[in-house]
Symmetry: C2
């Protein structure tokens, strides 16, 4: 076998981009630099070539290299040093220290018994979206439960699992949904999945034909659109206003879309709630068109001014809603665990798809999560996080107001895990975010989330990983970085 | 929400089949009976309606109900009692004992802390294909390693994993493949997957367009064909003879198929080895046509008369082979863990597909498997199993000869986990297997594995779970059941 990716002989020759594939150059550059860093070819503290010289060497645009460097910075692989250029993050020294650079074309002889893990170990960066409070999870409880399950390898654990996943977990989820999300379902209609993206891919396999229309929210969650596009859907962006998805606009644009993907509790990214008239008209549309509604309830548990709203699924008397839940936000993303509640009429179809195309998922993690839920730890943790997030959200909002006065407009959402800082009209939020992230922050611009329904300029800032006592410091750091 | 599946009010009303879906009736009947058994609506020892009366009630063919009952019997849910009809397996009493029948439409209030698990707990049945020796896995070692990993929940374990999977496991696999399967690859070209079926689905997502031709072996592995069909492929069955896949026949039939799926080490199900001239012509075809070869090396480790052959991938100088490995056969299927070694030119494409559609897989199981491999337990276990399987294979073959004399012709394959018992020409192997399985055995008829290249009548019998001292008893049991 050839192994062009690892031939690190001449300077930067491993950076060679491939003009035959459809992979954007910036992703190719990113991937090769990332590999070089994790392999030790580029060492912590080492300076990367300047974007200008690398662009010239690769005969590509300067902006392409910038984009790759940004992506690396956003994941903690590199840090900007202003005029001194970009260097491999010195903090990686700890996690990479005993990793030898791999010689090209020779697999390692024998891996040492316990290798330190790679850069994923880096703590969440300030303002980073989509992560729960990583410091507040009850790790000791979890480890105790996991250890108990690990002690015994049962014949069940050794055998092929049920295609819909670990039955006791499906029962625990059904109980939880009845209490916390306001609807009853049979454990037999619940499928345990590997998280949101896989669930969406599975839904596409089961109910979508290539070229079918699918409504997505505009602005919306980028990875939803990317997954559906890759699965062959024709995306129909539907505007979101202060009442949530504009159902009439969707009907006008594509009355017979195969399904709609919505985030009714706290719309991603605007945070608005799909109001009751819209909920009812969305369901009425699905019934009339014979279409489906995919409810992505990624953080419905977190609401601060009132009790969490029941899920859209609780209104679903005609069984048109596929409810998608995830443990990534209420526990932690490394679980890679989610679930899907199916309409009865789709159970057989999904049974086939699961058995033939998604026969995955060991029962170990599901069994520990079951114990975590049935032991009461899950409900307790969600309650604690609701309290903690309310505090962190308040502290960050106050700190931002102190740091920026009226130069940004802080919008608190009723729920969720982030807030929105609106910038004055003259600003380019993509550029502003770039400045912040070059300084080790992880803020996200709002405007790229829109297809036609333009919003912004604004920054999305998560508060979940900013302890109250660090809020003022991080707000000042942001203000200094973006100088607004 | 409606919940028609659970409304067990009137007798057998939960058995209602749905004439609107494309799900075959027999699968619907199977699924509903299975649900009724696991829910406790039908209790261990309880008699099922006779196939004739159920067929009449559902206005379907008697054979349809028979097929559903067979499927249930093959999985241990029911057992045939001859003239006394079919009953729910009494052995289920142990595993189902504390499960309450769920009331329709009401989720359980609170699941008990540690529920006994369901029928998956049943031990492998005599002759059942595709399972390693479940009694011979070093569970104590495994539990020790798993406990060590479970004790600490690291920040890495809590975070989103690398899209290609746990890096240390990819390194351990690369080392193993170099030693055991004869080829070198970079850990960066290895993707950790959820097992064979998911891997095939992922390959289809990455390289297949709907309607593309794909070569499959004839006879072949049924679930490969089912997965590819579901993923939109147009199957091209290519005959297998004593040299393996007839490459010239494939070229004649579809010279530009997108890829071919082959089992070169021990063809599934015939057990023949793809010989060197065929290997070379298969690779030459792929190079010329710009096509890919998917090498399913599901049990390449197990060869009894000589050293295991190197993988086809070891000849792949032009990088056209996607090598698919699995831990299901060399460790146990409950791991739900496999891997895919990619040609360099496909790494970027798969990185996109993984990130967007397959962002699944916690690192827990992969981390324990890494320790199992780097600690030397894996190599030791494979070596022990090679020895054990050789013994069990020999003992079963001798016992079958004793039981059947020359009324069946036992064909030992050079490797793999099963042998083939050829029946005389007059027999219908599907019928014979049915008779055996009604008595609690799990033999598989060969003839349904063929599309055009008809083989059989024969039975495929796995020896992996039949200890030497039980071989004579099981052989006699088979002889009595099928009365040949």
């Amino acid at each position: 076998m050839k192994s062009t990716r690892r031939s690190a002989a001449s300077a930067h020759s491993w950076l060679e981009v491939n003009r035959q594939t459809q992979t954007p150059f910036y992703l190719q550059i990113y991937e090769r630099l990332r590999a070089a860093i994790t392999a030790g070819t580029l060492r912590p503290g080492e300076r990367l070539p300047s974007a200008r010289s690398l662009a010239s060497q690769l005969a590509t645009a300067r902006g392409t290299v910038d984009a790759a460097y940004e992506l690396l910075a956003s994941q903690g692989y590199v840090v900007g040093r202003g005029a001194a250029g970009t260097i491999v993050a010195p903090t990686l020294a700890n996690v990479l220290s005993s990793r030898r650079p791999a010689a090209p074309n020779t697999p390692s002889q024998k891996a040492p018994a316990r290798k330190p893990d790679t850069v994923a170990a880096i703590a969440p960066k300030p303002f980073q979206l989509g992560l729960p409070a990583m410091d507040a999870f009850p790790r000791t409880v979890w480890s105790r439960l996991a250890t108990r399950r690990a002690r015994e390898l049962t014949l069940i654990g050794m055998s092929y699992p049920d295609p819909f996943g670990y039955q006791p977990l499906r029962e625990a989820i059904a109980s939880y949904l009845a209490v916390a999300r306001g609807f009853n379902c049979s454990p037999d209609s619940i499928v345990i999945t590997g998280g949101y993206q896989s669930t969406l891919a599975m839904i596409a396999r089961a109910v979508l034909k290539p070229g079918d229309d699918v409504w997505v929210e505009d602005p919306g969650y980028t990875d939803t659109s990317r997954a559906l596009t890759m699965a062959g859907a024709n995306l129909v962006p539907v505007s979101v206003d202060e009442h949530g998805l504009d159902v009439a606009a969707g009907v006008a644009r594509s009355a017979h879309a195969r399904f709609a993907v919505v985030t009714p509790s706290h719309q991603a990214p605007l945070g608005v709630t799909l109001d009751l008239p819209r909920r009812l008209s969305l369901l009425a549309w699905a019934i009339k068109a014979g279409s489906w509604v995919v409810e992505d309830d990624y953080d419905g548990e977190f609401r601060y001014d009132s009790k969490p709203l029941p899920a859209l699924k609780s209104l679903d008397e005609r069984d048109r809603v596929l409810y998608v839940g995830s443990f990534s936000k209420v526990m932690f993303p490394g679980l890679r665990l989610g679930y899907l509640v199916l309409p009865d009429s789709l159970v057989d179809t999904f049974a086939r798809v699961r058995h033939i195309l998604y026969r995955d998922g060991s029962i170990f993690i599901p069994s520990v999560v079951t114990d975590f839920m049935t032991g009461g730890h899950f409900a307790r943790h969600v309650k604690r996080m609701r309290q903690l997030y309310a505090e962190r959200r308040g502290a960050l909002a106050r700190a931002l107001v102190d740091a920026f006065a009226d130069r940004v407009n802080i919008e608190l959402q009723a729920g969720g895990m982030q807030l929105i800082a609106h910038l004055g009209d003259g600003y380019n939020d993509v550029e502003v975010a770039k400045r912040a992230n070059a300084q080790g922050l992880a803020v996200s611009p709002l405007s790229p989330r829109s297809v036609e329904n333009h919003r912004g300029p604004a920054l999305m800032l998560s508060f979940t990983n900013i302890p109250v006592e660090r809020a003022r410091r991080e707000a000042r750091r942001l203000q200094e970085a973006i100088a607004i």
